[in-house]
Symmetry: C2
Subunit: 266 residues, 2 copies
């Protein structure tokens, strides 16, 4: 298993990180039929677990996926992986797929979902990033799949490759109407006329946990963000639960990085 | 491995069908980062292999995925799986993912793709189907991902669930402009004013192999198909390389099934 630390959790068992043990008929592998959550670990503790579970359950409802463990058991499993890998600063990835199944698009009632939890170390330092606006990929704001964290990540991967071609760190995705939706791995926070703004979920923003907390704290408000506002931003951040990074440049335009959003405790 | 016959091929080895052997860090599983082809087997022979390879290579070019075997070796592997499973009538599924990799959206140059080939039996009999038009899912005709056969199949799965709710067999996907694109598992062929028509790839049709052959033979021509034409069709089929099925009903409207498209030899 590429660069994973010591152990991971699969369907109730803690396994060695180099075990190749996924069923080749898993619908996660064959059809992208599943969900994931990336959960921050700080000072050895998984953070915002109940928020992640709430989002996971919304995804399960849309995909009609049954989580075959109660949430208390999943929370214990998250702890086991954090402890088993000696994680202090880093993250946990929870992946839920519809599991091994016969051919065909229609899920069978008998399918037993696959639940996997892996851990990773991560330095909490996040330096400013340079971004472009993707010309190739638009976010499909009307799709119900844009509101959940599914395994269908090829649009984001293509946009990230486009950023790499432009020798920058990330790409901003507009929706099909041309409004700002999100970045490939995080939500967008933009300061304009003294206020921090973030795109509406109905404009294609993933309902991110970090975004949710900024909105609840009153630091940020939702707005429809025009693409033209990006290059005139007073400040600009991309955030997910692992980090909030200042954007220092969008295309050829420098963005001030003197001001940025700070995450609260926890 | 759910309902798979005896053997499958993985990265150069022929394995028993119940082997759970996929690396949990495979990007196919974690991010839907890959492609597939479903290849018909008739009288024990894989059909249209060069056409499938051509489409696979187009997908590889878009995703910048390297096929780590030459095509002659892949063709031998297809035969090995067909023979190893005693397949006479059925199909082979070739799945290519970017393989095991460290965290992060950006593919690393060192990643070694995963190539897997499984086989399945299938009766060549295909009875008429009833369909609805999906209200939940629209095909993103502008996305380059709509022109390749990627692992990101959740839109089609949700539409298929919607068909199941309506107690019918399949769902038709319109594009965002409201024109007909395809069905969840095949291209659409519609007879209107005495001519068989199929949607343009630029309107969101997957460039299907069966569609390609019908176009080359002159049996079918490309057209922009208005949603309203579906219920007034003189005949209507959904086709992929495994079967061409007549549509007998769209929503509450019966469609004549006296006329249908026939596939040629091979």
């Amino acid at each position: 298993m590429a660069d994973q630390p010591g152990v991971f959790w699969l369907n109730g068992a803690l396994l060695a990180g180099d075990a190749s043990c996924i069923d080749p008929s898993d619908r996660g592998l064959l059809l992208g039929d599943g969900l994931f959550e990336t959960i921050a670990v700080r000072r050895g503790q998984a953070r915002d677990v109940q928020r992640h579970f709430a989002r996971l359950q919304q995804g399960c409802a849309l995909l009609r996926l049954r989580l075959p463990w109660d949430l208390a058991a999943v929370e214990r499993a998250l702890d086991e992986v954090a402890v088993g890998n000696g994680l202090l600063e880093g993250g946990l990835r929870l992946t839920l797929t519809r599991g091994p199944a016969p051919r065909g698009l229609l899920p069978t009632a008998a399918a037993r979902p696959t639940l996997m939890i892996t851990g990773f170390c991560l330095s909490p330092v996040a330096s400013p990033v340079r971004v472009i606006v993707s010309t190739q990929i638009r976010r499909d704001a009307a799709s119900p799949l844009s509101r959940i964290k599914s395994l269908n990540y090829l649009p984001n991967i293509l946009a990230r490759l486009e950023a790499e071609d432009a020798k920058v760190d990330d790409a901003i995705l507009l929706n099909q109407a041309g409004f700002v939706a999100e970045a490939t791995t995080g939500n967008i926070f933009l300061k304009r006329r003294g206020k921090w703004l973030t795109p509406f979920v109905s404009d294609g923003a993933l309902p991110g946990i970090c975004r949710e907390k900024f909105l609840e704290s009153g630091q940020v408000e939702e707005a429809r963000i025009h693409a033209a506002w990006l290059s005139s931003a007073e400040a600009f951040c991309i955030g997910n639960v692992l980090s909030v990074r200042a954007v220092s440049q969008i295309g050829p335009i420098a963005v001030p990085t003197t001001d940025y959003l700070r995450t609260g405790p926890g």
